[in-house]
Subunit: 269 residues, 2 copies
């Protein structure tokens, strides 16, 4: 029987626990939040709660999953470097990897596989987790020169959660997500600030266009604060967006309606 | 029986035709697109197709609805100023009013009521129109010193389409929508341009955050080109957004994780 240790049982970690505990895995959970841990044990989403990462040493073998925000993952890992020379397969779940990769490159950590399930939500916390969170969604895994044994194990882990798995070059991971996920969230927060400063009652007048910006701005401040601080590619793309806003503003202010419509038409699928 | 003339049967005009023709109104349609007109007549969404606005003069009384983009509305109106001194009630449906109001102020047009149904879609055209487009949605109407007779008629028109009607001071209309609708669309187009210039395959990697930006950027270039050119408030708010993007970027680049999380937390509802 496979041992799974989940460090951090928020939305993602909780969903992994719920999915795998149904799937005949031995699930161990670590979290500073006692309520979440008790809830997981009581409802049989986990087999045992552990008090510290140290305690994991008692297991012969396991897949160890960091389901913590990027900065926390790095902090815990630095205190538990023994994980990187253990027999365990280790993975994470966050959408920003730059700092983690920089750190891991200092080791010959063939047992660490980077994972990123594209299945986030503006909701957060164990109470919103679901065994089906990953079903039918894509999970990206990246190898840092890892052995086939560990790569296969992590791949099968996500397949057990009914996720489609894509292997992607780790160097392209952060670049891709800075554009497709982090920049949209960054913009949503900035736009909400403009509306807030203009004293707009968004609840009454939010047409279709605004609703999604409101939803994105409800995302976890802890998680997104970490992501905004960690993704080295993001600042460049914010600058590009500012450029494009000014470019489109100038085009709109010119009298050239034809060029403006051509511009807006280029994104039609 | 009430006569309704709909000038322009795209998404909005078509939806009005479909809704009112079921509702015992006499529906006349004007559109340069013959297919849409024939389609409307064939499927009994309209009683008669007219060739020009001139032809409306043959009607004793009617509600005349401009369901055209803002610039087109103004062009047609300028060629048919007789409408403003007729017995007809006249209204429009667009989400930007500045130019129209500037023009109407030159007349004592007590028969013109401004309407704005908040029920848009990224879809456009008669083929996507629906008799239920306005049901349960809000329509804003604004008076320019109009008589109660015309105001009541336009109010009842939208109620017949099952829309909730709110009367709003016309001076606040464009300001409000520049923030809640036009700015989100403007940002969506700009963000898509950044992704496009970075050669991102958005179909494979679009997580939850990006989907709505893609949807907004699929909106009608004719309509949104007109709106971006017409809303005098928009440029100011684009500048504010650029400021906020830079403000948040600086906060993210500082080491102050606490202040960043406080910032992101202020939009939690």
């Amino acid at each position: 029987m496979n041992n799974i240790v989940i460090c951090g049982i928020g939305l993602i970690g909780g969903s992994i626990a719920k999915g795998l505990s149904k799937n005949n895995f031995n699930v161990y959970v670590i979290d500073s939040n006692l309520d979440s841990k008790n809830n997981a044990i009581r409802n049989k989403h986990a087999h045992e709660a552990m008090h510290s990462v140290e305690e994991v040493k008692k297991l012969e073998d396991a897949i160890f999953i960091f389901a913590t925000p990027p900065k926390t993952t790095l902090e815990i890992l630095k205190k538990n470097e023994w994980l990187l020379s253990s027999k365990f397969s280790v993975t994470d779940v966050t959408s920003v990897k730059t700092e983690l990769i920089k750190y891991l490159k200092g080791f010959d950590a063939e047992n660490f596989i980077l994972s990123h399930p594209i299945s986030g939500s503006h909701l957060s916390g164990f109470e919103n987790s679901s065994e089906n969170l990953f079903a039918g969604k894509t999970t990206i895994i990246s190898s840092l020169g890892s052995s086939k044994f560990h790569l296969d194990r992590i791949q099968n882990l996500w397949k057990s959660l009914k996720s489609n798995v894509i292997e992607l070059d780790y160097e392209n991971h952060d670049k891709l997500f800075s554009l497709t996920s982090h920049l949209p969230h960054f913009v949503a927060y900035s736009l909400m600030k403009v509306l807030h400063d203009n004293n707009i009652d968004i609840s009454t007048y939010a047409g279709g266009g605004l609703k999604e910006f409101i939803r994105l701005s409800q995302s976890s401040p802890e998680m997104w604060g970490d992501i905004f601080q960690s993704n080295a590619h993001l600042n460049k793309h914010i600058d590009e967006l500012v450029e494009k806003l000014i470019e489109l503003k100038e085009l709109s202010s010119s009298k050239d309606g034809f060029a403006l419509k051509e511009y807006l038409n280029q994104f039609k699928q």
